[in-house]
């Protein structure tokens, strides 16, 4: 290094010593030492040569010492510069905190605004994450798949398999590391006040698929799956703790469910749970064994879940499915329908979440991001105004040598402090919001165990908070620090009038906010319009005044049609004897609750078959109770008994399909779950039925059902149900719901005292809890909420900008008024200037919502995504609130002494 005293200069200006400097520095120091030694030795009379060699001998290994000293210096520099940086950062942070603490109003408004945006976004992200991104509670969830059965043409599938199919795929498919079927089982726990518990029957691979093992005891052994194997059960952790006091000695004891007894052999860990949100928590597991009767049933009623072997590609699994289906077709030709496509793999999302719900969640997330953007825009505007009012402070700091970057950093740190505070509050608030969301979705959205704060959600919150804060800070600081030093100092504390560039920035802000608010309002408006349309749908059956009762669990003894019909007769008899009950009926499935599927063949034409038919068994009172008018023919009567000729009522679209332009009455069909070519019919068949009546098409599966479903109605007394026989649901019409409910309860209790509490619901309840209604209601509430927040934020934003510009123009306004301008003129001037960017934003937002509302199309009902009435109404709402937001500050500017401001100069 040269003789210039760099080190001193660096020190004076606190410049850290660079890497290159270190070596030169050390060399200079060591050289000085060596030269000094040589001089010393020579002064004692040594020759230069001797002195040099003696010095080097004394000194030792120069290179080693040099590198050691250099290493020490580097370490020192690194540590000191880090400490220095941490020190300035800390002083910046404490300075920012002190500045903000002096303006609690500002800090409060910013934190509330940001918390709204961050909280909403975090809450929806939490749901998206748990429902769409990471729904499965099992290890290596990406390998877990579900197996279902699909048919050609209709794009239709069942998310389950029949026992025969399951066993076949289990044995023949080679892509799984475990394939398990499961079915529900319920019962009343003996000795526990008759608590109803839910269990799951599972096949052997179940534990391999979910990758869970009992914490006490053991899993099921192979012989426990044999038809005559011992009755054993594994308890859930929750059931174990609530009903067995978490006593490990419970293993070996007996679990009594209704009239069955199981030996308890294991306890599942607390962390074990099933993914399906709709399933009530599983409290015990028992082996699933298939009987001969089960194997004959082609109904796809068992949920099948598999764990793919590692590295199985999609094409390989598709191939495997096709191959196994070909073998299945060869092995059981008479169990395969022409339309069968075979088994298909599903992800959890595609089977249980569904494309619509998934799309809906993404739309909501997008909506919250818009809200967040608005919050950021408002906060950014506030920060900008504040930064501009501090231009004098900045100018002074710049004059004192603070770089622009340092000042920008200061503002960004302030924004970050506010952002982090908001994120902390938002994490807590959003958890409450998620709880509210799940309640709003009636538990159909997420399992309750998914509500806890988790790492991914926290990360998301942190990332958006930091990104938002940095964005806000930079956006506010950069224009504010574009300082003309001399001007800022000269203008003094008043601050300059906003420059043209700053005004442009503000107008852009308002334009953006209005556009975003317009998009969100349009979305909410369209959903509200759809909802009104949905409520107004005429489903073809009456809803008013109808109360229903469903029996959740049938006691033992109802396994024959005769027993069920006898029970039904007794209940209806009592109901009809009750005064005030105008009408009573019974059905296999209540409208909007569920349906049964079946197939049929025209009598005398084995080629004329139709699948996917809706099947309902009803009594003579059903159609009158629901006010369904017959288009042709007659209703069922009490004379349509099992002994009487078999009859059927069909829906209009079904009749039109097979007998267009003809009278369908008198034609005969054959209904049955084992339909197909006549020779292949197996199991108990349905009798040949004569069509005796035609009813209109109903929307009894979903209110927004787009096309009519062909439906056949059979008399309860003559039913051969497609599934297991079950107790009917009852419906009565009465002037008052309470009377109806009481009548239903007592009639059912009288008919069979073992049935304790049936589920009572009015038809309005049923409609409101139906999927089509619920999903829309959920979306509507959230979109309306976000749109309202957006409208509020935008109005506050407009108010803020207009108020700011008015405050800066107080002088000008004062002069105008002193010269005779009337308040009205001034107000009009201010409002018009404030509205200009709003109108631009409206137009942009309108274009945006025309483009974006197509994403909503699936959620809409009876309303076009471009519905002009809705869009106009929304634009009017936005314009009105923008007018109000700019009128208020304008009016305030015209109040008071017009000359006060000019005089103050």
């Amino acid at each position: 290094m040269s003789a210039v005293d760099w080190r001193g200069i660096r020190r004076a200006f606190r410049i850290p010593l660079g890497w290159v400097g270190v070596k030169a520095d050390v060399d200079a120091e060591l050289d000085f030492h060596i030269q000094g030694r040589i001089d010393e030795l020579m002064s004692r009379g040594m020759s230069r040569e001797d002195a040099e060699s003696e010095t080097h001998r004394l000194f030792g290994d120069y290179a080693r010492i040099e590198s050691e000293v250099e290493g020490i210096d580097r370490k020192m520099i690194r540590r000191r510069s880090l400490a220095e940086r941490a020190g300035t950062l800390w002083s910046d942070i404490s300075y920012a905190a002190r500045t903000l603490a002096r303006q609690p109003m500002f800090a409060g408004v910013v934190i509330v605004t940001l918390t709204l945006g961050i909280g909403a976004t975090s809450a929806i992200f939490h749901v998206v994450d748990r429902v769409v991104l990471h729904p499965l509670p099992y290890p290596e969830p990406e390998r877990v798949v579900y197996l279902g059965w699909s048919w050609v043409g209709k794009g239709d599938y069942a998310g389950a398999l029949s026992p025969r199919k399951f066993l076949f795929w289990h044995d023949q498919s080679h892509i799984f590391d475990g394939l398990a079927a499961s079915g529900g089982i319920g019962g009343t726990l003996d000795g526990a006040d008759g608590a109803t518990v839910q269990g799951l029957r599972v096949t052997e691979d179940f534990f391999r698929v979910v990758r869970a093992q009992p914490i006490h005891g053991r899993a099921f052994s192979k012989d426990e799956f044999a038809a005559d194997g011992p009755q054993v059960a594994i308890l859930s952790y929750a059931l174990w703790t609530t009903h067995f006091g978490a006593d490990p000695r419970v293993i070996g004891r007996v679990l009594r469910l209704d009239d069955r007894a199981y030996t308890i052999i294991g306890i599942m860990p607390a962390s074990f749970e099933l993914a399906e949100a709709s399933a009530s928590p599983v409290q015990f597991l028992v082996p699933l064994r298939f009987t001969e009767e089960d194997l004959a049933d082609t109904g796809n009623n068992y949920s099948v879940m598999g764990r793919l072997q590692p590295g199985v590609s999609e094409s390989r699994s598709t191939q495997d499915m096709a191959l196994v289906f070909a073998r299945y077709r060869a092995a059981f030709p008479n169990l395969v329908e022409k339309s069968d496509v075979g088994a298909r793999l599903f992800t959890y999302q595609s089977l249980f979440v569904g494309g619509d719900q998934e799309r809906l969640l993404w739309i909501l997330l997008a909506a919250t991001l818009f809200v967040l953007l608005l919050a950021c825009a408002n906060v950014g505007n506030l920060m900008l105004a504040r930064a501009l009012s501090r231009q004098r402070e900045f100018a002074v700091r710049t004059a004192l040598g603070s770089g622009r970057a340092r000042i920008v950093r200061q503002v960004v740190i302030e924004a970050l402090l506010l952002g982090v505070a908001s994120a902390a509050i938002a994490s807590v608030v959003s958890l409450g919001a998620v709880r509210a969301l799940t309640a709003l979705a009636h538990g159909g959205l997420m399992r309750s165990t998914q509500l806890a704060v988790d790492q991914r959600a926290l990360w998301f919150t942190t990332v958006i908070a930091v990104a938002a804060s940095v964005g806000i800070g930079v956006a506010a600081a950069v224009p504010a620090t574009r300082i003309n030093l001399a001007r800022s100092l000269a203008e003094g504390a008043r601050g300059g009038s906003p420059s043209r560039r700053q005004r442009g920035l503000r107008n852009t802000l308002i334009t953006t906010e209005s556009a975003i608010a317009m998009v969100l309002l349009a979305g909410a408006g369209l959903l509200i319009a759809s909802f009104a349309k949905l409520r107004a749908v005429d489903p073809g059956f009456a809803r008013a005044g109808i109360v229903t009762a469903s029996i959740v669990r049938a006691p033992a003894g109802y396994d024959s049609a005769a027993a069920v019909i006898e029970f039904e007769r007794r209940v209806l008899e009592r109901l009809r004897a009750t005064p005030d009950i105008a009408s009573a009926g019974a059905t296999s499935s209540l409208p909007l609750v569920r349906g049964w599927n079946t197939v049929m063949t025209l009598d005398g034409n084995v080629e004329a078959t139709e699948g996917g038919l809706e099947w309902r068994a009803i009594d003579a009172g059903y159609l009158p109770t629901f006010g369904i008018q017959l288009l042709r023919g007659r209703n069922f009567t009490d004379a349509d008994t099992r002994a009487a000729p078999a009859v059927v009522i069909v829906s209009k679209s079904f009749a039109d399909r097979w007998w267009p332009g003809e009278d369908p009455l008198g034609h005969r069909i054959r209904i049955g779950r084992y339909a197909g070519k006549a020779g292949r019919r197996a199991g108990p068949g349905d009798p040949v039925r004569e069509i005796v009546g035609v009813v209109p098409d109903l929307k009894d599966l979903a209110l927004d059902q787009s096309r009519p479903r062909h439906t056949v109605w059979v008399p309860q007394a003559q039913q051969v149900p497609p599934g297991r026989i079950s107790l009917p649901a009852f419906a009565v019409r009465a002037p008052e719901a309470r009377i109806a409910a009481n009548a239903l309860r007592s009639a059912i209790k009288d008919a069979d005292p073992r049935i304790d509490v049936p589920e009572i619901a009015t038809m309005s309840d049923i409609m409101e809890s139906s999927a089509s209604y619920q999903r829309r209601w959920f979306t509507l509430v959230l979109m309306a909420l976000f749109a309202a927040i957006a409208l509020g934020l935008t109005s506050v934003g407009i108010y803020g900008v207009v108020a700011y510009s008015v405050a800066r123009r107080v002088h000008e306004i004062g002069v105008r008024m002193a010269l005779g301008a009337r308040p009205g003129n001034v107000i009009r001037l201010v409002v018009l200037q404030g509205m200009r960017p709003v109108v631009v934003g409206l137009v942009v937002g309108l274009a945006g919502s025309l483009a974006l509302s197509r994403a909503l199309a699936k959620m809409l009902f009876g309303v076009s995504p471009h519905d002009p009435r809705t869009l106009l109404a929304v634009a009017a709402v936005l314009t009105a609130s923008a007018l109000l937001a700019s009128y208020l500050p304008a009016r305030r500017a015209t109040r008071g002494d017009p000359l006060a401001a000019p005089r103050a100069e």
Binding site: A3, D5, R7, G8, R11, D25, V26, A28, E29, L30, F32, H33, Q35, G36, R37, E40, L58, F59, G60, D61, R64, I65, E68, V69, I72, D73, K75, M76, R79
Partner: protein
Amino acid sequence: MPAAPELDLIRGTLDLLLLKTLSWGPMHGLAALQWIERTTNQKLQVEEGALYPALHRLEEKGWLDAEWGHTDRGRRAKFYRLTAAGRRQLASELSKWAHYTEAVGLIIAAKGVRS
């Protein structure tokens, strides 16, 4: 640097010697070395290879401050100055050293083993 026990002792002692030497005033490395040699009448030969690592280590610990300056003869040299922390360190090392020599002295002066 390998941590042989006697080397450790020497290094620790060297630190003490340097701190003590610099307590008389700022000095460059060579001057400190020469001062030690002179004061001990050349009896204590400080290994020169250990001198600079020791000085820099003491600086890194914050006990010394280094600054470039000029010698009496106008040559540029790096001067080391004891900092306040260095002064405190010196005091504690001195008292440790006193205890140490006292204990060693007692053993050396002991006359036989009494049981």
